[in-house]
């Protein structure tokens, strides 16, 4: 059994990290894309057994990049950023191709390999659905609020918006809608189980449900199935908090939960918070399995590799209330850490 080790990617982004994704399983499963506020997307490759993550390339953008995802293979990526564009990047040649333009910054971008759909969400309160098998077809779906997080499962798309709105779309329906150009209704409309602004969403790899997190140190787990039994199973819990020092009046300091990621094999999940910690949770047994040592800065992004062997952690200063031009500075303080998990590290014990 390989012991757990942790190492840092060489040449991390210069500024805050916005997102971090692993390549799909296939020829190069250990590729890692990191998008940053320094207007670049970074491509790293983890060398198995060498405890090393090497920078392969970086791709310049016109504006800070807010999200990135892999396409059908490890050579294709899609990015979204403040320049309001959704772009396709050929990772080998570095070629950029603009797929669509929103009316405001594009916050998230996700790709569904099962349906070859690319979905982008923008602060102009729309979704763009790109059918990549016929690239000309872009469907715009208006949203009732600004989207803040997107997550995709084999058959569903979860959109978390302001005002605690959550829409769940059915991907096959979206696919047919792209050809008919009719705006589909969401498969389900829900109110967030959390009282505060949604920060992150992550779908379970078994297509059964999803987890959301909020700015108020809390995570909720719920299921897609719309039956009373399934809905009765949903729960929420507090996390990423710490007691305040006495001289500051006590109480709890509550951090936003910035990142959520499910383990692709075991179905357990990790949460990363503004307190600089990463915790592993067993969604079935409702237990915390581990909490890793505190990082010097806030955890901005998390992702498990598709084989579940690595956990990549993007660490950079988090934007806190009351910060401004002078007080927020993430330059040179971002790090990409990779944790090689031991075999049982992320394995839950099951219910009870």
């Amino acid at each position: 059994m390989a012991p757990a080790t942790q190492f840092e990617a060489s040449q991390p982004p210069n500024d805050a990290i916005s997102s971090l994704v692993f390549s799909p399983s296939g020829s190069q499963p250990n590729r890692l894309l990191v998008s940053s506020w320094d207007k670049h997307v970074y491509l790293y490759e983890i060398i198995d057994g060498a405890e090393e993550a090497r920078l392969i390339n970086k791709y310049e953008h016109r504006a800070p990049v807010l999200d990135v995802c892999f396409g059908a293979n490890s050579n294709e990526a899609f990015s979204a950023g403040l320049d309001q564009l959704v772009k396709r990047i050929d990772l080998t040649t570095g070629e950029h191709q603009t797929l669509s333009k929103h009316k405001d910054a594009v916050r998230c971008v996700v790709y569904s390999p099962q349906h070859s759909l690319l979905i982008s969400a923008s602060w102009d309160s729309t979704l763009h659905i790109h059918n990549l098998s016929s690239p000309s077809e872009v469907l715009t779906i208006p949203l009732p609020g600004k989207p803040h997080a997107l997550s995709i499962s084999p058959s569903k798309l979860v959109v978390a918006m302001t005002a605690r709105l959550v829409h769940i779309h059915d991907l096959p329906t979206l696919l047919t809608s792209t050809s008919t150009q009719q705006i589909p209704q969401p498969w389900q409309t829900r109110e967030s189980s959390l009282k505060f602004l949604t920060r992150a969403v992550a779908c379970m790899p078994n297509d059964a449900g999803y987890a959301t997190s909020s700015i108020e140190g809390r995570v909720a787990v719920e299921w897609f199935e719309d039956t009373p039994e399934s809905q009765a199973r949903k729960y929420a819990f507090k996390c990423h908090r710490q007691p305040a020092p006495e001289e500051e009046g006590g109480g709890d300091i509550v951090y936003p939960v910035n990142a959520l990621a499910f383990h692709p094999v075991y179905g357990t999940f990790a949460s990363g918070g503004g307190d600089g910690t990463v915790a592993l949770w067993d969604a079935e047994a409702k237990r915390r399995m581990r909490q890793y040592q505190k990082f010097p800065e806030s955890v901005a992004a998390l992702e498990f590799s598709k084989d579940g062997k690595y956990l990549a952690i993007g660490v950079c200063p988090g934007f806190e209330s009351g910060m401004d031009e002078q007080t927020y500075n993430a330059e040179g303080r971002s790090r990409v850490l990779i944790r090689e998990l031991s075999e049982t590290e992320a394995k839950g014990k099951g219910p009870k």
Partner: protein, 349 residues
């Protein structure tokens, strides 16, 4: 229980009353205590459901409202923990029981002393004219004779008790001046009482060298006459929450003390002196015990003043501080508005 006695109950009765771990209130019987706990401490603030235990409430909050319970409502600041499962009197830690009993005893004797000081009446069960220390004691020959008769009667009673097979722990001469320590199984608090757990009260130094009964904490007082030994607190049985906890077996029916039980003889003068010296030495109001203070403040809805020793207890009550608290605008939107990240549309390509 016999008919409720008027006036002031004696210390055994007080000690026997069931009381609430969370707020130190005591009750007439266990049923009342349990319904108090369900209403005050184990009630769900979302839906009003009354649960049997804090653990039950925690599970309920988790399952029904998807929230987690962090502390017990309306509890004293140092009793809010969820780690102890309390039902009625079950599950109360031994040292807390000791602490409670200690407090009851302390309060009882200070209250008794205050009453005597206020009324000038002799204590119950002592018909001699030996009043509070304030009064100048002038004994008439009649009184002296009466006292001698009493003394003889007492000796006879003790002999009778000894004849019953119980050894007498009191060997000191009983003359009304030197107090017979240990006359009650629950003697008034003494300086140097080996009370090993949380130092709630620091008793003022004794005015003079009293014979100090060295009871180990948790041990009952010396067995006396016909009085059965009190079990050291409620047994900690992990029983089902539906079953009412058993009271400790106690045959003493709350009436007059059994024969051979010289309750209170000689004690009052000691307590008076104790209280007087406590007030003089510590400047502390009689009965101004720390726990009492906490209870009074809790009742008045005042948070304890922030002192170094109170601080760790207090913080659970305090609110939280969110590092990012804008519920409408995400941190990314705020960052995007900073000059260094702001996107200005160039001439469209």
């Amino acid at each position: 229980m016999g008919k409720k006695k008027r006036g002031h109950p004696d210390v055994e009765e007080l000690l026997e009353r069931p009381w609430c771990y969370y707020c130190e209130r005591d009750f007439e019987d266990l049923k009342l205590l349990i319904s108090h706990q369900k209403a005050k401490h184990f009630k769900c603030d979302r839906c009003g459901k009354r649960l049997n235990t804090a653990g039950g409430l925690s599970v309920h909050m988790n399952q029904v409202h998807k929230e987690s319970l962090t502390s017990v409502e309306n509890a004293l600041p140092n009793r809010q923990g969820l780690d102890i499962e309390i039902f009625g009197m079950e599950g109360v830690p031994e040292e807390i029981i000791q602490q409670h009993n200690q407090r009851i005893i302390q309060n009882f004797y200070t209250a008794q002393a205050e009453r005597q000081a206020a009324t000038g009446n002799p204590p119950r069960g002592n018909s001699s004219s030996q009043g509070p220390t304030k009064k100048i004691k002038i004994e008439t020959p009649e009184e002296l004779k009466k006292r001698l008769a009493e003394h003889r009667a007492r000796l006879a009673a003790q002999k009778a008790a000894a004849a019953n097979g119980t050894p007498l722990p009191v060997s000191a001469p009983i003359d009304g001046q030197s107090p017979s320590q240990g006359a009650s199984p629950f003697p008034p608090p003494q300086p140097g009482f080996p009370y090993a757990t949380t130092p709630v009260t620091a008793y003022p130094p004794a005015p003079q060298g009293y014979p100090v009964p060295a009871y180990p904490p948790g041990a009952p007082g010396p067995a006396f006459g016909n009085l059965p030994a009190r079990p050291p607190g409620a047994p900690l049985i992990p029983s089902a929450p539906s079953a009412l906890p058993q009271r400790p077996p106690y045959s003493y029916n709350g009436g007059a003390p059994p024969p051979g039980f010289p309750l209170g003889s000689g004690i009052p003068s000691t307590v008076d002196e104790l209280v007087a010296s406590a007030a003089a030495a510590g400047g502390r109001t009689p009965g101004g015990d720390d726990i009492d203070q906490l209870i009074r403040m809790a009742e008045a809805g005042i948070k304890p003043a922030k002192t170094a020793e109170d601080a760790p207890v207090e913080k659970k009550k305090k609110g939280m501080r969110m590092v990012y608290d804008d519920t409408e605008v995400s941190p990314e939107e705020k960052m995007a508005a900073l000059a260094r990240y702001r996107w200005v549309e160039e001439t469209v390509v």
